[in-house]
């Protein structure tokens, strides 16, 4: 029997494939049995109702996408009433993604969703901290540590910190989240980007700028997952541009204990089912018995620490 299970702190996932927040919802249950997944990760909610950003909210760039959806949210009450009960019939752990503009609001929301049926909380700290200068919490170690500490005291559930690539301090932020008590890191959210229609000279997104995701972004998120896995002892969940089984394997080798599939689901809604099917075949083809043999197996012996943790291209 091939070992597909993976451990994320106290949670054992039956396989390392789960959706990325924002690219998954109950709607996908109309296409396949959601219980095949390693975990379920809901779209980020805020406490209050939010409309989200002006349209167009997405655009495609060669082989990838930009989005500026803006976290439309029906609010925490509607979420607790409708969404959490929907997932009760599944065995896969439910991971609830939360966001807020201030640490206080984060704490309140975190307490409100720390209820039966929820197995972990993914903290979307890639959103702007409106109490300071509007920069995302996860852009700096100090704000990361502050908000994660507050949340650690607010819940007993596992806390996954979702990091941002829009920082020059990847490893410092990762260490700050770990020091504050995060149980895992999700690496990472999207990279701030832009596209302009040269005929109309209008930005292609209603919000002018948005996050790059998809295959073009993969090497960046993979680099971050590698750096994070090297710098912390808590599990790293790789996220960014995964579209093939080879991409999954690459993240595992880089040090990720599990992966999230996002943008690719928009193109191929059954991709997670396919990857879960293909994973054992890959292990067999490589004479491996388990996923754990791959995790962190990158052959980087020659590299000095300085090279591993660099934040500038040579």
């Amino acid at each position: 029997m091939l070992g597909l299970t993976t451990k994320i702190g106290s949670l054992t996932l039956k396989n390392p494939i789960m959706p990325a927040s924002g690219t998954f919802s109950e709607d996908l249950a109309q296409i396949f049995d959601l219980d095949v997944l390693g975990a379920h990760v809901t779209k980020t909610i805020t406490r209050e109702k939010r409309n989200g950003n002006p349209t167009p909210r997405v655009c495609e760039v060669r082989g990838s996408m930009l989005n500026s959806i803006g976290i439309p949210s029906k609010g925490v009450d509607a979420f607790i009433e409708n969404v959490i009960p929907f997932y009760a019939k599944y065995d896969a752990p439910l991971v609830v993604s939360i966001s807020a503009g201030s640490a206080d609001e984060f704490v309140t929301l975190c307490e409100e969703v720390s209820i039966a049926g929820v197995d972990a909380i993914e903290v979307n700290i890639s959103c702007p901290n409106i109490e300071e200068d509007g920069k995302a919490f996860a852009m700096r170690p100090s704000t990361t540590e502050m908000v994660m500490k507050r949340l650690r005291n607010a819940t007993d559930l596992p806390l996954w910190a979702k990091l941002t690539p829009n920082t020059g301090e990847t490893t410092e932020v990762a260490k700050a989240a770990e020091a504050a008590g995060a149980d895992a890191l999700v690496v990472s959210n999207t990279l701030l980007a832009m596209a302009i229609d040269i005929k109309t000279r209008k930005p292609k997104l209603g919000n002018l700028m948005g996050g790059l995701s998809g295959p073009a972004f993969k090497p960046i998120a993979l680099r971050m997952a590698f750096q994070c896995a090297k710098s912390v002892d808590i599990p790293v969940i790789g996220c960014g541009g995964i579209a093939t089984i080879e991409d999954v394997i690459e993240y595992l080798i880089a040090g990720a204990s599990a992966v999230q599939i996002g943008t690719a689901t928009f193109i191929e809604p059954t991709i997670m089912v396919r990857l879960i099917d293909e994973l054992p075949n890959y292990l067999k083809s490589q004479d491996l018995d388990s996923v754990s043999e791959l995790i962190g197996s990158v052959r980087d012996e020659e590299a000095a620490d300085g090279l591993v943790f660099m934040e500038a291209a040579p």
């Binding site: 909210r57 997405v58 059954t270």
Partner: protein
């Protein structure tokens, strides 16, 4: 192994229908006039249980010249369970439709669907009026067929830039519809003339429901006529989409409901909406 064979049928809440991701074979993909092409697919039975107004999300092929990334939503032009065929009528405008136009007979096309909520024909709606322009007429074609199947009286006002790109006129006629054509070329498609034509229909035969698609100008005109005569209506709307099944929240549009503005997803709550609630953009 095809993607489809690994698809495990989920347990669904009663109101949700199964959505399929499946490879179809191209039967033909030919120009119907200077601007439009008709794509006929060999399709499995399970995806042909459609409603008029629904759409499919097409994974357009990539070529050396065209590399569309997202799927492209496309309204169904025809679904024929008896023949096992699914038809799309499209105008080549951008990267997705340009790529679609390269498909040859026996090529595969991966489709996702059927998607969204389609048109309703209430039991007491006897005289139906269809008004659409250009490729919007394609969206109303399955509705016309369903109306025929239910023995409703059908009037179709077909609008286009010029008579040589008037779509579906013969098709609507073959379904027994009273077809009225208007064009920009001869000036008959302007709003005031359309209003007069529709007023005449209302006075002569009576109209129980109005159906339309797309155009802002038609939306405003039909809202005004609908309000004036208290005739209900439905409109199929478009919006740029990414996932097509409700997850990504990118295809929202505003609607006016009970005096409030609400945001709804065109892919999930739509693409067919109440005519009076729709807001032009």
């Amino acid at each position: 192994m095809s993607i489809f064979t690994s698809q495990i049928a989920p347990e669904l809440p009663p109101e949700a229908h199964q959505i399929y991701e499946v490879d179809c074979t191209v039967k033909s993909n030919t120009p119907v006039n200077g601007e439009y092409r008709l794509l006929k697919l060999d399709a499995p039975q399970e995806i042909l249980n459609c409603e008029p107004g629904q759409f499919f999300h097409l994974l357009c092929p990539t070529t050396s010249e065209f590399q569309p990334y997202f799927r492209r939503p496309m309204s169904i032009y025809g679904y024929y369970p008896d023949k096992g065929e699914l038809h799309f009528l499209y105008k080549v405008t951008g990267e997705g439709t340009s790529a679609l136009a390269t498909l040859q007979t026996d090529d595969f096309l991966n489709v996702l669907g059927p998607l969204g909520c389609g048109f309703d024909i209430h039991p007491d709606w006897e005289n139906l009026l269809l008004v659409a322009r250009g490729v919007g007429l394609a969206t109303l074609a399955p509705l016309a067929l369903e109306a025929r199947r239910q023995n409703r009286q059908l009037t179709a006002i077909c609008s286009a830039r010029s008579s040589d790109v008037l779509m579906s006129v013969d098709y609507f006629r073959s379904l027994g519809a009273n077809v009225i054509t208007v064009t920009d070329e001869d000036g008959s498609s302007d709003v005031e003339n359309l209003r007069q034509l529709i007023e005449e229909q209302i006075a002569n035969t009576g109209i129980d429901a109005i159906y339309t698609c797309g155009s802002n100008r038609l939306l405003k005109l039909l809202q005004s006529i609908g309000k004036q005569h208290n005739i209900p209506g439905q409109i199929a709307l478009e919006q740029q989409m990414a996932c097509g099944i409700g997850m990504c929240q990118c295809c929202v549009r505003p609607f006016e409901r009970n005096g409030k503005i609400v945001q709804e997803r065109v892919c999930k709550e739509g693409p067919v909406f109440d005519l009076q609630e729709a807001i032009g953009c």
